[in-house]
């Protein structure tokens, strides 16, 4: 794909995502996964998880962060620029129009009903995105346990309204990854030393 065409595809895809994603954050994440990992295959499941980890642990809306990151990964600065622009343009236009007749918009019954339906559909999109990503991951005991534990923890956090940011859960996972690497590293070092003796 030529550079210009790819920039255009990035812009258009994120414009589409920005236009149809109701319910914020993770709904958008689910749709980005469907578009870029499942359909376009521009990102592997691992790369998508990395994008998300970074998007979640840096300031700013997750969807804006993901768009910037994916755009940059694909096509550098301009890729990032056009992806982010595409993502926010629809809501910019829609919200500007709504701001002109805010009070009347609130009274539209059918908008509310459509939104009830969308919430049910979006919950399927999010659940299937998470499960699909996990199925592509290598099946190690750590992966399975960390996956189940963090899912359970998040549900508990929201059910019991605990004040615990998901950024910490991500950092704990990263810490465990680092620790297991360090243990392996030290073990190898001592083995080498033992071998030399």
């Amino acid at each position: 794909m030529s550079k210009l065409k790819e920039l255009f595809v990035l812009f258009l895809t994120f414009f589409k995502i920005g236009l149809i994603t109701f319910g914020g954050g993770y709904a958008m994440v689910a749709i980005i996964e469907r578009e870029f990992t499942e359909r376009k295959k521009w990102l592997s499941a691992e790369e998508f998880a990395d994008v998300l980890a970074i998007a979640e642990s840096t300031p700013g809306p997750i969807s804006v962060n993901s768009a910037t990151f994916i755009g940059y990964k694909r096509r550098g600065f301009w890729g990032a620029f056009f992806s982010t622009l595409g993502l926010i343009l629809p809501s910019l236009i829609i919200i500007f129009v709504i701001s002109l007749f805010f009070d009347r918009f609130m009274e539209l019954e059918y908008v509310k009903y459509a939104f009830y339906g969308i919430r049910a559909g979006v919950s399927f999109l999010i659940l299937s995105a998470g499960i699909r990503l996990f199925l592509k991951l290598k099946k190690t005991p750590y992966n399975t346990i960390a996956f189940i534990l963090s899912a359970t923890l998040l549900v508990a956090i929201s059910l019991f309204s605990w004040n615990f940011s998901s950024v910490f859960i991500i950092l704990i996972g990263g810490g465990i990854g680092l620790l297991s690497w360090l243990i392996g590293f030290i073990r190898n070092k001592t083995k080498e030393k033992g071998g030399r003796k």
């Binding site: 994603t21 109701f22 914020g24 954050g25 993770y26 994440v29 691992e46 998880a49 990395d50 970074i54 998007a55 840096t58 300031p59 700013g60 962060n65 910037t68 990032a80 982010t84 926010i88 629809p90 809501s91 910019l92 919200i95 500007f96 709504i98 701001s99 918009f105 019954e109 509310k112 009903y113 459509a114 009830y116 919430r119 049910a120 919950s123 399927f124 999109l125 999010i126 299937s128 995105a129 990503l133 996990f134 991951l137 750590y142 996956f147 963090s150 998040l154 549900v155 929201s158 059910l159 019991f160 940011s165 998901s166 859960i169 990263g174 465990i176 990854g177 680092l178 690497w181 360090l182």
Partner: protein, 192 residues
């Protein structure tokens, strides 16, 4: 201070300090826009409801709306630019640094530890939403109320997705899923 500059700086600040996105930034935004007299508290609550039923990130929607009511189209543009700018710059820096860091084993070890966690968080979010939408359970103290309409919509799009994948060997477009859900929402909640 001119209102446009004030809008830009306020939303720049909101964009720079809101971690985790979405709802975590609502208290901060409320404090800022109510404190500045741009919106009343009840207007903020109404707007959050609107933001849930319009596309786009809550932070961006909020910035556009406040900007538009305070400074017209230019205000909307400047506030939105302000709220997105910190995320954009930070991600550019992180992405370019990460490229170099991926050569090192510890970076990869960290990311390997993070990946299943992130996937678990997505599933956890999905389950939380299903509990809220289908079972009316967003807090542990809520009493169970089964919403058969939401359950029907959920099951229908799930069935359709699996069927489409089996027959066409491709993943069903999320746009189709959202549109079908919206139509069913209007029909089931509005006319039944």
């Amino acid at each position: 201070m001119p209102v446009l500059l004030d809008l830009f700086l306020t939303f720049l600040k909101i964009g720079a300090v809101s971690f985790g996105g979405g709802y975590s930034m609502i208290p901060l935004v409320t404090e800022e826009v109510v404190g500045k007299g741009w919106m009343t508290e009840s207007q903020v609550l109404d707007f959050i409801a609107v933001s849930e039923s319009t596309p786009g990130p809550v932070a961006v929607n909020m910035a556009t709306f406040v900007g538009a009511t305070q400074g017209g189209i230019l205000g909307a543009l400047i506030s939105t630019f302000g709220v997105v700018l910190p995320a954009f710059v930070i991600i550019l820096v992180v992405a370019s640094v990460l490229k170099g860091l991926l050569k090192y084993a510890p970076t990869n070890a960290f990311l390997c530890g993070v990946r299943p966690v992130v996937m678990g968080l997505i599933v956890g979010t999905g389950v939380t939403l299903i509990l809220t939408v289908i079972f009316g359970l967003s807090r542990i103290s809520d009493s169970l109320s089964f919403d058969y309409r939401a359950f029907f919509i959920f099951s229908f799009v799930a069935f359709l997705s699996v069927l489409y994948k089996k027959m066409k060997k491709r993943t069903l477009s999320p746009i189709v899923i959202i549109l079908i859900s919206a139509v069913f929402g209007i029909v089931l909640y509005g006319f039944l």
